[in-house]
Symmetry: C2
Subunit: 361 residues, 2 copies
């Protein structure tokens, strides 16, 4: 089916050169996977800004991390020798430094960049003023390797932000909230490792809050989407499988995960999600859930809504990725802010009616 | 330090030959990792009974599973060809059938046995009458490959049972409860994949329930112990790291995980936990947590409390394992029921004062 989704003519909207590094010795590798919110007449993007260390000595790699020092959190670097035999680090994947464990399995020993959350503001949703300073910067032992992929859900005066937090203890999901996009509160780890791609529904359904999450099991099972409910947004339970990676599909046989928090329509909740194939090529799809039953998928796109096709989506910090964390609905117009090749922010627009058509409605 | 812990002279107390298979075509491979409860003057053990399929055709393996059929759950088998090139199954580990994925990593494709929970009752805590029928038998899509490693916590009239449930969707943790050890209720998945070794504290602390859990992250992080709290036993949050595998230790550098629900003493809560080294040799250790702060470990054993030394601990369905899920305290005497080599139930006894001494108290 040929779905009419339009890339914005000014794409990419935000690139690393637009971002002031958080530290002098840092270089911005990517600005991507932004959450989106409407606040006081502005579109606010919560940018994931990934920074690496500028000054690399020959044959060495410096890894940026935060660590605790006399009760406060400081940014520092870890120096790795590219040629040190003993450690046998693998630098093939630009995003990570991997090692082989005693069982012969590959695992991530470090992340090459440290991510924080930066704000960008816009009146028209296209041209953004980017703040000079981080909004959420890592400062706990669970965030020592970064805070990533924010999703924002407004409930009343509060904006709830779910982020992946990364450290040597794993990738967990933390909850933050803000009222003013000036300060924020940390509300703790809501999903333990390994989990990612968490977002909240913007209202209670049958008296309960709902979240989608995407556990990453080690031994048995695939990275599938699950649903959980809560009475207070802090404590989550009643975990149920929602959507599995489809081994028969060419574009979503690797993994699936939540995209942006859903928006409510007369047909139900519409969700934009991401799916990757076994080669880690990331596309966007959409599905529709029952308005009263968040665990019931009514319709789903069989082909990608958006796939990496332009140069800015195909080549970057990590190639062949479109990945959305934020959506703004303006009447019938749905604006999808998405990370392109883990390096830039781009915008795609689609009419609500076109999404219905994609669902065969 | 030489800690006086006594193996019972009648060890092993329960062996596979004592168990009536749940189906004619099944063979009991192991009875191990039992939860323990006191109920109406009896010690009740909740045995994990692992069964395989008896009738193996030459060169083939039959895997027992449950599957849904017209709304009810039926036990069936999956036939695997040991020599089929295309699938390249690996049968080296007696517990699982593994495969290599497209990234070259080994993962579990099937479990060779199907576990359920069986009850055994005793007046003296040593001689048990074993029921003929399963108490908890797999009957949901999350339990299709088995229900394992029960831990029991009594609160008021209710006994809460946490079990690992296994399926193609991963290893998750489900909560059950019973009042009479005749019928039980399913209360859903409380920790999504991959998680194991969950137990509940037997009382609220500062108005909250507490659980320990042991997530198994895939990419980053080790199998560490975490603590979470809850207001209703169903929804869990405030996840915090409790105890990491210690890479410098010879006996606990592989993984750590909760053992039996803790018991309260004048010094704090005492926990028996398990630790494995990088060769998957499982020992038991103990630690003490602050009576009001379940996330605060005050003391910990530096050497194993119990390690696989006897033949029944060294050789079995999986070699070199002692693994406890259940404890009964009788005055100053602590009875630790433990799985030996994933095949039998054994009993070790230790005085409370001896545990204090192990903590240097």
């Amino acid at each position: 089916m040929d779905i009419k989704i339009r890339r914005h003519l000014e794409n990419p909207l935000i690139v690393p050169e637009d971002i002031k590094p958080s530290h002098e010795e840092f270089k911005v590798e990517g600005v991507f996977n932004a959450g989106a919110a409407l606040h006081e007449g502005e579109v606010i993007l919560l940018l994931r800004v990934a920074e690496s260390v500028k000054s690399n000595e020959a044959g060495k790699v410096r890894i940026p991390v935060v660590h605790e020092c006399s009760g406060s959190w400081e940014t520092t670097t870890v120096l790795l020798d590219r040629h040190q035999k003993k450690n046998e680090y693998d630098f093939t994947d630009s995003r990570v430094v991997t090692k082989i464990d005693s069982q012969g399995n590959k695992y991530t020993r470090y992340i090459t960049s440290l991510s924080h959350i930066r704000l960008a503001r816009s009146r028209d949703g296209v041209h953004f003023r980017i703040e000079d300073k981080p909004f959420i910067y890592p400062e706990s032992k669970y965030e020592a390797w970064g805070v990533e992929d924010p999703r924002v859900t407004q409930m009343g005066d509060w904006y709830y932000i779910t982020c992946s937090v990364v450290s040597e203890y794993g990738v967990a999901v933390a909850l933050f909230r803000t009222r003013d996009f000036k300060s924020h509160e940390r509300l703790g780890i809501i999903f333990p490792p390994e989990n990612k791609d968490v977002y909240l529904f913007p209202e209670k359904i049958n008296g309960l809050y709902y979240a989608y999450h995407r556990p990453v099991p080690r031994d048995i099972g695939r990275p599938n989407m699950w649903v959980a409910d809560s009475e207070d947004l802090i404590h989550w339970g009643n975990h149920r499988l929602l959507l599995s990676a489809d081994s028969r599909s060419s574009w979503e046989n690797g993994r699936v995960g939540g995209g942006a928090p859903p928006f409510k329509t007369e047909k139900g909740w519409i969700h934009i999600y991401h799916a990757a194939d076994r080669n880690d090529r990331y596309c966007l799809g959409a599905f529709l859930t029952d308005s009263m039953h968040p665990d019931k998928i009514l319709r789903k796109t069989r082909t990608p809504l958006l796939e990496p096709e332009t140069d800015y989506e195909k080549y970057g910090f990590f190639n062949h990725v479109v990945f959305a964390c934020g959506i703004i609905c303006d009447g019938d117009k749905v604006r999808i802010y998405y990370g392109a090749a883990d390096q830039r922010i781009a915008l795609a627009e689609i009419e609500l009616g076109e999404l219905y058509r994609a669902f065969g409605l």
